[in-house]
């Protein structure tokens, strides 16, 4: 065919639509994906309720919400990071450190609310450090945050001398932070806020862009350094908030709280919910549903007396299935891209 002959006003670039996978491509698929995880969680709830009358009781729902909340709050940050192609392994240790910062600041005579704000700022600063070293000094974030994970854990154990302290409290603060359903309320509000931010703001769009095409985003003038470091700051601050929420509810600030297990559960919730570890796509609501599913499993097994080893096997399988799903989906997409 000879190139460069004059054509009528409309070129034909659009005449051959590519095969569709979902009605709305990736977003449509993610919506289906989010819904399917929610359905799985609801089926599990029905199953556990049918095998144990104590499942849908107020006391157990509180327990369940307390499992889920910290994972989901941390997952909100991890999802932003995963979307822009990074990860924070230190979040579980920041979780443990935050209430100690609050404790010591309060102990030094500051009002509790100021001590709280200081702790969140401190955790944000740790996030900034993680981001700065990852992005500016170009050390992969997996390695940077592996380092800070150990570093922060050692630091928390040192300043606490390894012993728990009583979480400072006053009436209103403790009610807002530590009441029965306070954590899950915070978690759901944060999920809605972050979901809106991801879908409807420039920050969210640029986070997806940076993860989907780093060089192209920079060529478009997006400040990729700011986006990435900003999401590390968000993750640090959210991990700190989750830690303070838990310490306020329990009334005790434990240097052994959180930890890498907490962080991995948050990442697992993100991945099961439909966030790709390869960057460029993800969903906050999916993270909430992923956390719900994991929480229902853990709680259901606990009250049914099934041991923790079985739970671990189930989560492992769930993560594998979710990842195979993600990658298989990416392959389908690439097939659609071919001629």
């Amino acid at each position: 065919m000879s190139a460069h002959t004059h054509k009528p006003a409309q070129t034909e670039l659009g005449t051959k639509p590519r095969p569709h996978i979902g009605k709305r491509g990736l977003h449509g698929f993610l919506r289906v994906r989010e819904a399917s995880i929610l359905v799985v969680a609801i089926l599990l709830i029905i199953y556990f309720e049918s095998t144990n009358v104590n499942f849908l009781t107020d006391a157990n729902l509180q327990t369940l919400s307390q499992f889920i909340s910290p994972w989901v709050v941390i997952a909100c940050g991890e999802i932003m990071l995963l979307i822009c192609g990074e990860i924070d392994l230190s979040a579980g240790m920041v979780f443990a450190l935050a209430p100690f910062i609050m404790y010591f600041a309060h102990d030094a005579g500051l009002p509790l609310i100021i001590a709280f704000i200081l702790a969140i700022i401190g955790c944000g600063a740790i996030g900034f450090f993680n981001g700065f070293v990852s992005v500016k000094l170009r050390v992969p974030s997996f390695v940077v945050t592996l380092g800070t994970m150990f570093l922060i854990n050692g630091f928390t154990l040192t300043i606490s001398r390894g012993f728990p302290v009583d979480t400072p409290n006053d009436g209103i603060f403790s009610f807002l932070m530590g009441g029965g359903y306070a954590e899950i309320t915070w978690a759901v509000i944060l999920v809605l806020f972050m979901h809106g931010m991801l879908r409807n703001t420039r920050w969210g769009l640029h986070t997806i862009a940076v993860g989907g095409n780093l060089l192209g985003s920079a060529e478009s003038g997006i400040n990729v350094t700011k986006i990435k470091i900003g999401n590390f700051v968000i993750t640090g601050a959210l991990a700190g908030l989750a830690g303070i929420l838990e310490a306020s509810r329990i009334g005790s600030t434990d240097p052994l709280a959180g930890g890498s297990n907490m962080m991995f559960m948050a990442v697992a919730a993100a991945v099961i919910g439909g966030t790709s570890l390869m960057g460029g796509s993800g969903t906050i609501i999916g993270g909430l549903f992923g956390g719900l599913m994991l929480g229902v499993l853990q709680d259901g097994f606990t009250i049914n007396g099934i041991n923790a080893f079985t739970f671990d096997m189930i989560i492992g399988a769930a993560i594998l299935i979710a990842m195979v799903f993600n990658i298989h989906f990416a392959r389908l997409r690439n097939m659609g891209k071919l001629k």
Partner: protein
């Protein structure tokens, strides 16, 4: 040296001589550590003119483009845009001056819709305190922009990942042209494209050329195609301009001869 003989004969094509200058670059040098990507490149672009740049891989063509878009700062050298000396601070700064670019890699995000890609980093926001994206406006204007340059893509909600090479190129060009571009830089817009699709993109470029207010620089590999579409040709080799002439005054055999001669010079000198 044989190459200087060509460069000295450089001429502004008669049809645009005396026109206003849109862009001038003087003695642009760009080094990446030990690599010298550009070794003193100068060029002029008249208003309404189309300059074609040819040259091997690694000659420094994309580096020049990235300097003109403010994406990279030159090691030394001076840019003059619309008669004013400027040091471009950022991509946004260059855009404010009317410089738009279709990068070699297109700078599209595969997982985002066409309309989000069209407005990447200049998204309109809804009124109100929350600074929310105005998706409805983006959809409408993206469809308009595509229609404006005569590209028929049925659905702007489509993900870029699912578009063909030519469709992606068209989206990237529409994005660059739609925003008040005065100087449009096209880095290998025909690469990795079949004959049919590159014909369609050439048609599109032809139509853009007819806009008197738009000046273009196009990097390409195909000598014949470039001679046909560009007003003036520049040849880049090893970070230097080795040849420059009005398209009407040169030919494919002459261009091939320049390349051959230059290789002799390089080999002889080494």
């Amino acid at each position: 040296m044989s190459q200087s003989q060509y460069v000295q004969s450089s001429a502004v094509p008669p049809q645009v001589a005396g026109g206003q200058e849109a862009l001038r670059a003087r003695d642009i040098v760009k080094r990446f550590g030990a690599v010298t990507a550009l070794n003193g490149v100068s060029l002029r672009l008249q208003k309404g003119e189309m300059l074609g740049i040819l040259g091997d891989n690694g000659a420094g063509k994309s580096t020049l483009i990235k300097i003109l878009t403010g994406f990279q700062a030159p090691t030394s050298g001076q840019l003059t845009i619309n008669g004013e000396d400027v040091a471009l601070k950022s991509v946004d700064h260059a855009r404010e001056l009317g410089i738009e670019c279709v990068y070699q890699d297109l700078a599209l995000v595969p997982g985002l819709s066409i309309y989000h890609n069209m407005f990447l980093n200049r998204e309109p926001l809804r009124a109100g305190p929350f600074r929310l994206l105005d998706n409805a406006q983006m959809k409408r204007r993206a469809a308009e922009a595509l229609e404006d340059i005569g590209v028929n893509i049925p659905d702007v909600n489509e993900e870029v990942a699912r578009l063909s090479g030519g469709q992606r190129q068209a989206v990237a060009i529409a994005r660059a042209v739609y925003s008040k571009a005065k100087i449009l830089l096209l880095d290998e817009p025909l690469a990795a494209m079949g004959a049919r699709e590159s014909g369609l993109i050439l048609d599109l470029i032809d139509r853009l050329k007819k806009r008197a207010d738009l000046s273009l620089i196009m990097i390409a590999h195909n000598y014949a195609q470039t001679l046909e579409v560009a007003d003036r040709i520049m040849m880049f080799q090893h970070g230097e301009v080795t040849f420059e002439r009005a398209s009407a005054e040169t030919s494919v055999p002459e261009l091939l001869d320049v390349v051959r001669q230059n290789y002799k010079v390089v080999r002889g000198g080494a």
